[in-house]
Amino acid sequence: MKLSKKVVLLGHFGVGKTSLFRRFMDDEFSEDYKVTLGVQIKKNIIEMPDGRELSMIIWDTEGHTNIEDTRKSYLLGSNAFIYVFDLTREETYKNLPNDLDYLSKNYPKVVIKILGNKCDLINEKETLLQLKNLNINYNCITSAKTNKNVQDFFLDLANEIAR
């Protein structure tokens, strides 16, 4: 049996949404930064442990400093949101609690995952302590560049939304 699920990548400009998207979809990484305009869509078929096939349709949206500026029609009908922030830039996660509040109020049925990207560029101990002090909760830290935790994160998400 085949399942189709829509997953939307959200977050500020330059946090690495497209890099994560490309790493997961094509196992590629590029240092060149190109701003995403509008949205790009790709599909990854994931073989589930129970034998089902999951078509994960990922919508990589353009970055916004304010989550409320994200085009609402892109968010409708989603099965999961991946909120990506940049571990090296505080301004990309300092509003996280408010942004999450907005998402869970407006899209109560959608699974929300928080992902701190660019972990290859930080002193992990210091940054994680800082996140703790700012009361920032996250699900995973990743590096699109080194591929750290990227595949596992998406596969775990696939398992969760396929249930």
């Binding site: 189709s4 869509i41 349709i57 029609s73 409708l76």
Partner: protein
Amino acid sequence: MEESDKLKILKELLFTEEKEYTDSIAEKLEILSKIVYEKQELSHKVDPIIDDKLEIFVKEIPKTLGPTITEALKEEIKNSQDAVVEALFPIIGKMIKKYIAHEMKLLSENISRKTKSAFSFKNWFKRKKAKVQGISTGDLEITEYGKPQLVQMFVIEKNSGLLIADYSPLSENTIDKEMVAGMLTAIKSFVEDAFEEGNQNLETIEYELFTIHIQNFYSYYIAAVVAGAYNINFKERLENQILEFAQKYISKKDLESNELFTKKIKKYFENEIV
């Protein structure tokens, strides 16, 4: 004899020669003024001279003014390329249209010739059909070739852009239908958001020889890819057919089962030639 008469006689004697001379000048002046003031007379005299000069001037233009004009034109075109393109565009468009019309006429004549020479019952029927319609068999063939044809049909969930079902009357193609469904939804959402026209929906997308007909329903929409001339008649027929299909055959259960829905849509549109 009075004094004044004497003086007159003396004048005549003394100025006879001068008088003749002035008289001849006066006569010449009269002729000249007649030539100058009467246009026809003047042109009769002047035109041959002007014509000769003009002829020489025209002959000399390529040599004398040619390089200057060419240079000026080159410079002008270089400096205002956009304006030149703008000006030429409609002319070129008309030329292309004329050329295509001419080529279509030739093609039509060619087809007519070939169908006449090859006998078959199909051709015979075509000839009869063309005769009834009052057109040549070539024109009929061309009309039939340009007929709109359903290439692909997608049933897409409105909000998520996820593909619910699809049908293609042609052989399997390589496009990723789920990606197409997603992108169509993104384009549709973008256009509808951009114009902020409340509940208005995007109804058609055109690209080259294809038209995507979009018909919106409450929780899903149907996108039909049409090749050929998508005209009002075809649009109406397609709309009615999709409406009938949605009304009679689509239930909530279908929207949840891709396989069941795909079978249904295939069965319906296989038999109903749009």
